[in-house]
Symmetry: none
Subunit: 232 residues, 2 copies
DNA sequence: AAGTGGTCTAGACCACAAC
DNA sequence: TTGTGGTCTAGACCACTTT
């Protein structure tokens, strides 16, 4: 309960009240919690106070909101080994975001010459190049350039290239990943990136490059680069 | 300037306006920015709107407030976007786990000879070695070996080495991280690891190594290795 | 005492999703 | 149409720091 005379700010008391119900599993994961209106009436407090409490919990990842629907308990999902470490889609879903991947480019290109170093390849190779823009609704979240070993398009399977790439690699292709290398560098967005990502206010982005090795191969099977505004 | 008819929320416009002045160094570090009252009058907006814009920037580490005095530009620019990408504690907390870090070893060691390559160092260096076992309650989750540049123990600050290391690096030390390299390799646990982690059923683990670079330094500031059972 | 940020209320209108 | 969260205003009083 909330005590208006305790001296403790009401929004702190409400925040703790809600946190307890989450921690003690009184509210199920992904279940809707009382609306702002209901919380106002139940505790006889103003809407701004309710929203201040909720915004803290959203910020800390305990709750997520859906505009026009309600407020929900954020879920802890089971892990699949590598998945949380290599999948952007996975990380976003954990925060209540269901990303949409829009395929911008899809073509076969040859990696040779000075490009070999960037791709960490030892010899010339044709790869499937895929550029996707990842959205949360209408909001662009990231630009993703991925390069697959050509063998991926030679299989008979129909691959869902708009889904999670980590899922394709781990579940559909059942690859035996033996090493993942990754570099993250914060930098300024270039002009194209600013245009696509509509970076407002700041033009700082994180650039992440990732190389995936399978079996005992010396060359990576998969190369990924993605750029994401650093305020996401 | 702020356009009330643009359709863009006023607090977003104000936030971006302020962010630009910070990014372009129009306001010095630790200098006071206009008071909430001044911002209200200047842009003809309500106080709640001003506070909403400011609270975002405080939350993201661009500003800090002093009660009864004013609002100020934060000293270092945050690399907060890094947190989910580099912090094990952060990732675990997102899944509802509040890990406990038990310090197993803590000593100064010299990195030289053949070890230099593993640490990606170019010359001999003394480092602070920290081994921690990370628990979820009684269940051991991971073994973590971290190696800090010696300068970390020369500061006057008392560092909470049982908390999140990413938090120390980003929030306490406010390091300007310029690159993160990481390798993940699945392998079999060795005998010591099996003993500590009590790996049940499977003895497969993920080994993650991570190198953190700050400023323009050629050598990494921080080296981390952790081993985690692959069924977690 | 004056000025700052901290908390809180009541009320309004908008945007989005579901029925 | 209804109910949700999103944005915004005007106003009040409190707590803290400096003058």
């Amino acid at each position: 309960m909330i005590d208006k005379k305790s001296g403790i700010p009401l929004y702190i008391q409400l925040k703790d009240e809600i946190l307890n119900k989450i921690d003690n599993d009184i509210w199920d994961i992904d279940s809707q919690i009382p609306t702002e209106m209901e919380l106002m009436n139940k505790y006889k407090i103003g809407r701004a106070t309710v929203r201040q409490a909720l915004s803290i919990l959203v910020n800390e990842g305990y709750l997520y909101k859906k505009h026009g629907i309600g407020t929900f308990v954020a879920g802890k999902k089971p892990s699949l080994g590598f998945e949380p470490l290599i999948s952007l889609t996975f990380s976003l879903k954990q925060r209540g975001i269901t990303p949409i991947n829009f395929i911008d480019k899809k073509e076969i290109i040859a990696i040779e010459g000075h490009l070999l170093k960037e791709f960490r390849l030892t010899k010339k190779q044709d790869v499937l190049y895929l550029r996707r823009i990842i959205y949360d609704g209408n909001l662009p979240l990231a630009i993703e350039d991925s390069y697959f070993n050509k063998s991926i398009i030679e299989g008979e399977k129909e691959l869902d290239l708009e889904g999670s790439i980590a899922e394709i690699l781990l579940h559909d292709l059942k690859l035996n990943i033996t090493k993942v290398e990754q570099i993250i560098v914060p930098r300024k967005a270039d002009e194209e990136e600013r245009k696509i990502l509509k970076t407002a206010g700041t033009d700082k982005v994180l650039e992440l490059k990732r190389w995936l090795y399978i079996d005992e191969n010396e060359d990576p099977y998969f190369y990924l680069k993605f750029v994401i505004p650093s305020n996401i």
